[in-house]
Symmetry: C2
Subunit: 145 residues, 2 copies
């Protein structure tokens, strides 16, 4: 009270009264300028905050964001959204399920690569052997002439 | 009060007064028989609950555990510990960093496999071509004799 209003914002705490961020909208709280969520959770993508809120909880998201340097907070917020969506899709294994699937894929590709490298060695050996035998047969013919 | 004590347990709520689980130890609360954490967070591995507590928060861990069937809760707890440790090790990218590294590894292995398959085709083609030319040269000699 007693604060001057200017274009829907309260001078001093500067409220985003027109477009509160997705977090403040969900949590039904005032979205002040210093809101830790507003730079990373746009009101146009409410599902992003809904996901991190469900998995990590609002206070943990805010704590995790504030623990990283400001220039990396957008990446941290996005990775939390990604992680939360994986947990919501697979409540038992979450991102560990995705990591385990990828690790199996890497192992199977490495095994395939190992086998195909052995095959190519066989071809290279056969080619070298046929080249040597062709080189060896010339002097033999030359002597017989 | 008024409850009968039996071997360190309060009959009725059955407290684990001798060995409270890692969660109840950290949260300094009574570890009752119906404790949602005790089957999954042994007091001998306190770092496991400490990690999930830091990243997800105790109430979210309990909520996430109760949302999956009982037979899968141990797996869910372990995957949460795994995920939390990745986030603590890499606060910006967490498990998304691990997933992205593995995806790049899969792509690079697939590219290598693709290249080596093309190389093997070249060998097969050369071998087939030299076989055909050796077959073709026989009738030519036969005609000239």
């Amino acid at each position: 009270m007693g604060r001057k209003h200017f274009h829907g914002q309260v001078v001093g705490t500067t409220l985003n009264t027109i477009t509160p961020c997705a977090a403040c909208k969900l949590l039904r709280r005032r979205c002040a300028e210093e809101c830790p969520f507003s730079p990373y959770f746009s009101p146009h993508e409410p599902h992003k905050f809904a996901a991190v809120h469900k998995v990590f909880g609002a206070s943990n998201v805010s704590k995790l964001l504030l623990e990283v340097p400001e220039g990396q907070r957008a990446d941290a917020a996005n990775s939390m959204v990604y992680e939360a969506n994986l947990r919501l899709r697979d409540p038992v294994y979450g991102c560990m399920g995705a990591i385990s699937t990828l690790q199996q894929e890497v192992q199977s590709l490495q095994a395939e690569l190992h086998a195909i490298r052995a095959e190519i060695l066989k071809y290279k050996y056969r080619e070298a052997a046929s080249f040597i035998s062709s080189q060896v047969s010339i002097p033999t013919n030359a002597n017989s002439q």
